[in-house]
Symmetry: C2
Subunit: 607 residues, 2 copies
């Protein structure tokens, strides 16, 4: 009888249990041989005071044993990963007959403890491809902690499972080496971030409440009924107000890995709770916060991904919209938008001319290299030779490229911007390499407009980000004359075309904040009276940023969804498929919260 133990990642111990020794050297990292040593069972209690096996029933994790452990008595604990019974094969080891009864019921994923001695693998059975491939363990005792029932799926990375099955049995799904890696990397990344903020820069980790008051326009905030009739707490979307109040309170440098909540309603792929790396500083300017974040990411960046170069590239909102048609450009590839209004203005194509003559109208081109099916000369018959030449020159288009052209008002650029990304995907799906999959392109986008016209009421302005952002110093006077022209001290951090953070310098004068709320945004300032009072109570200049931790980690580990970097995420529809939350609650239980359910009637009305 022969046992084999492997480790599938650095800490979790996974065992492969063979009743014979076939194939051992080919696939496994550590061979463990059971034999009965008289004197029997010795309970091993590690007294190590640090490391992954400190204070544990095991002496080592499987994956850490090496040649220098030869002769050591070790105790290993873990899961049986493979189990094969080849009864007819003879073993060169003493068979531990009395253990057979206990072990013959074993199933894969059962949990056992094995005590034995590390020795060199027999000649010819070494596995040079594995760090533990030179040794095996002569086992003296095995204890079965728990026998595993038949599982809904095998714990093998190559086994494909549906998303819903993974979610329903998340505790099994998390045993996969990829999910283990994701969660462990996330933990380490956050730890390094904390070290940087606390130990390097003197930040104070402050916990802010999640049972708070509804904020103005907080349509996406979950409500929590209290035991006072009609009164509700709200789960905030961010600690924005609290972190500003902490600056007024003299905390000077605040950070928090903050749980935030957003009720996206019927939007798919939503996570109702998510995590932000939330920071705020007093007596700082925009450059200071940008440097802080660059230093933070550089310090915490996982070594296996290489080192980060700082400072990151910076681009204005204006440039981003002009060149990429989007405020979060993916700069891993070029394919910039080109304004060709001038070139085509002289053409006699009527719809182009009318597009350009509109206010803000322009003609934009996007060259998709190798995007055309057939390689042929540029077939634009409507243009003059000189205009065609000028067009090819400006866009850099070559035979075989595809040239996409839009004409119309300003908002045609976002359309072309989104076409740019779709073309990139299409090209890559055809095997044309465009973006380096292991590249991390960080980018700051700055000088955003402070206000944008409301979508449903364009005569009215709304905050481009939030109402607390300060204007650029040089635009400050425009607040009182032409607010739509004001640029804000807001800056977004983009990684590979995803927004992973947004920060700003805040308004620290009550009169300015009141003007923005009341006169520009037409909001009821009484809902923020505590913040306005605070700004009038000695508020320092301050600013901060929040990074989306889930998104950041998912890009680092190249996960397709943030669900792959969250231990227990909700499904597309906001359900916990394992515990079946949200769940029905009895009328009786709701009574103490003074609420009752309005069941939809057949007509779709509420009772």
């Amino acid at each position: 009888m022969k046992f084999t133990v492997i480790s599938c990642c650095c800490v979790i111990t996974r065992l492969i249990l063979f009743h014979s020794c076939i194939d051992i050297c080919r696939t496994l990292s550590l061979v463990l041989v059971i034999s009965w040593v008289s004197g029997g069972f010795r309970y091993f209690n590690s007294v190590l005071m640090s490391g992954p096996s400190s204070l544990s029933l095991r002496s080592h994790t499987c994956g850490e044993l090496r040649s220098h452990h030869l002769g050591d008595k070790v105790t290993l604990c873990g899961w049986v990963q493979y189990l094969r019974n080849l009864k007819n094969k003879k073993s060169r080891y003493i068979s531990a007959r009395h253990l057979k009864a206990a072990l013959c019921d074993l199933t894969a994923e059962s949990v056992i403890k094995v005590t034995g001695t590390v020795r060199r693998r027999p000649v010819g059975q070494e596995n040079k491809g594995m760090p533990t491939g030179e040794i095996e363990v002569l086992a003296e005792d095995v204890e079965v902690f728990n026998v595993c029932r038949q599982l809904p799926f095998e714990i093998k990375d190559f086994i494909r499972k549906s998303e819903s099955l993974r979610m329903q049995y998340r505790y099994l799904d998390l045993r996969s080496s990829q999910m283990q890696k994701n969660l462990r990397l996330r933990s380490k990344l956050v730890m390094k971030m904390r070290e940087y903020l606390c130990n390097v820069h003197g930040f104070v980790d402050v916990e802010t409440p999640t049972l708070f008051k509804r904020t103005p326009g907080g349509a996406k905030e979950f409500v929590v009924p209290s035991r006072e009739p009609g009164r509700f707490y709200s789960l905030p979307q961010s600690p924005q107000q609290f972190k500003q109040l902490l600056m007024v309170a003299g905390i000077d440098r605040y950070f928090q890995i903050a749980r935030c909540y957003r009720d996206e309603g019927s939007k798919p792929d939503r996570q109702p709770e998510f995590t932000q790396v939330d920071m705020e500083m007093s007596f700082v300017d925009q450059a200071g916060i940008m440097s802080l974040v660059e230093g933070l990411l550089q310090y915490a960046w996982p070594a296996e991904n290489g080192s980060l170069k700082v400072p990151f590239q910076t681009m204005t909102y204006e440039e981003a919209m002009r060149d990429y048609g989007v405020d979060k450009p993916d700069t891993r590839f070029s394919m910039k938008l080109v304004d060709i209004s001038e070139v085509l203005l002289s053409s006699e194509i009527e719809f182009l001319q009318s597009a350009v003559s509109q206010p803000g109208g322009s003609i934009q081109a996007l060259n998709v290299p190798r995007g055309a099916v057939r390689k042929e000369t540029f077939p634009v018959k409507l243009l003059s030779v000189s205009a065609t030449e000028e067009l090819l020159k400006r866009t850099g288009a070559k035979p075989g490229d595809l040239l996409l052209i839009t004409a119309g008002p300003l908002h045609t650029r976002p359309l072309l911007g989104s076409l740019r990304l779709q073309c990139a995907q299409l090209l890559e799906s055809c095997g044309i390499s465009l973006r380096n999959p292991s590249a991390f392109h960080f980018l700051w986008v700055v000088d955003f407009p402070l206000f944008l016209p409301k979508e449903d009421e364009p005569g009215q302005l709304e905050s481009a980000h939030h109402p607390f952002t300060a204007p650029l110093p040089e635009d400050k006077q425009l607040l009182y004359t032409e607010p739509h022209k004001v640029r804000g001290q807001h800056f977004d951090l983009i990684l590979n075309g995803c927004e992973i953070g947004g920060g700003s310098i805040r308004i620290h004068k009550a009169s300015e904040q009141l003007h923005v709320l009341k006169n520009i945004l037409k909001e009821d300032p009484s809902l923020l009276s505590h913040l306005l009072e605070a700004l009038d109570s000695g508020a320092p200049p301050h600013g901060g940023i929040a990074l989306g931790l889930d998104r950041l980690v998912s890009i680092i580990v190249r996960a397709s969804s943030i669900r792959d970097v969250i231990a227990f995420p909700k499904s597309f529809r906001g359900h916990d498929l394992m515990s079946r939350a949200p769940d029905l609650v009895s009328d009786e239980e709701l009574k103490s919260y003074h609420i009752s359910v309005r069941w939809p009637t057949e007509e779709g009305e509420m009772k």
Copy 2:
């Protein structure tokens, strides 16, 4: 014109602004003199890459300047702490007339920036009692960032404020040196804990959901309506289920500084949200977890409180109840309960005899040293001389002591236990020193009963802690025969008589867990079917503990309430007095959650 800058704690900079130089040396740590230097304003942007002034508009915090900074050009930012205008005094410094206009409107707590040069204080004006007392700053420029309005109270530690005023203006209250110290100590303590768990012992920081499913008997769980009619999330009281599931998932060592929620209804001094240091380990026994926690506290313990001695004292539940009448004894003083049943059994006092003859009946004594008003001989006339002598001998009572005696069934001991604490308070309020106010007595209480009779239904058992606690190995068989006799592998951590943590080894076999839920607790196991399934899927032996962080920090900083170690706590009644949460929410907004408010009618009924 003269300015004085002091620092009231190590990081936050607070300024004292004098228009004259009276008294400067007596009270202040750092003298700052404004004078106009031609060439004027220089914008200082620190390029320091670490420390409390990195990336900041200031070059130093006020409190860090020393003699070795002499001659340095510094920029300081902060709050004006005192401001006196003694116009008739002549200054020996050049008066900065053109600054007067800007500065004459200044109020206390306004925010300014001062740039100047560090120099030695004039002879005779040094303050040896302050670390910054040898130097002053010759100021060259002042910028006013924000003028402070009239405040509801002065920011001085000696100003008494009502609790509700403090809560309403929490951002001002937090500027006090005590609250600054509390929040900064809490942040540092947590950081050290993380270092110990992550870096020393290889724990993985995993975030678990707070939008979860209602747990069986979860009467204290807030509900959160979802957008599906009748379906609610619940805010969990602890991540108990998730941390066990993470062990099944092979995470091996989990920790989280976890936000937890408990709706205590009308109970006063409740915090609806609080924080736990939550840990769980696989392949560990009770001793392992206790060592882990001892090491954790020793590592993270604030240096200013001396070092912690480990291991902590351990006591069984039985001993604690016997000697102290409570399961969380305050061991900073003796005054133990003494069983004197034997002594008084032979007396002819009828009610004593009948008390002892009851099942579990006993007579208990508590000696309160110096508790009697008059020093006289022990006046127990009903007892024989020999019984009196025996009584005095066993209780150690001396003239002037007070002897409290209870007779009755077992539960009279808790009464005496609570009398013990009240007597200690009374003695201390009379100036009799009993407990060292700077002592920290940690104590483990172990071997708790696994089940207790339900209060309202004594024939029925309920979990003493929670249904997942494993029995002591030697009591395991009693689970199936005499469950009320089973002791659990549960252990509480007590600090100065407060429970600050509770941990246990968990049941890791599904059949055992099912037996406890179904046959002993008579609960519906289907509500925990996901956990039972998980235990059957290769659950390792595991255990863990949760420490109450708010309580622990409040004891360390000797705060009278946990509200003093939470940045934005709720009031006694669960209100946020600053923002006025919980708040009314419109019917319209509640519609999307399919709930409506049941307003109480005049008769106290719900509509």
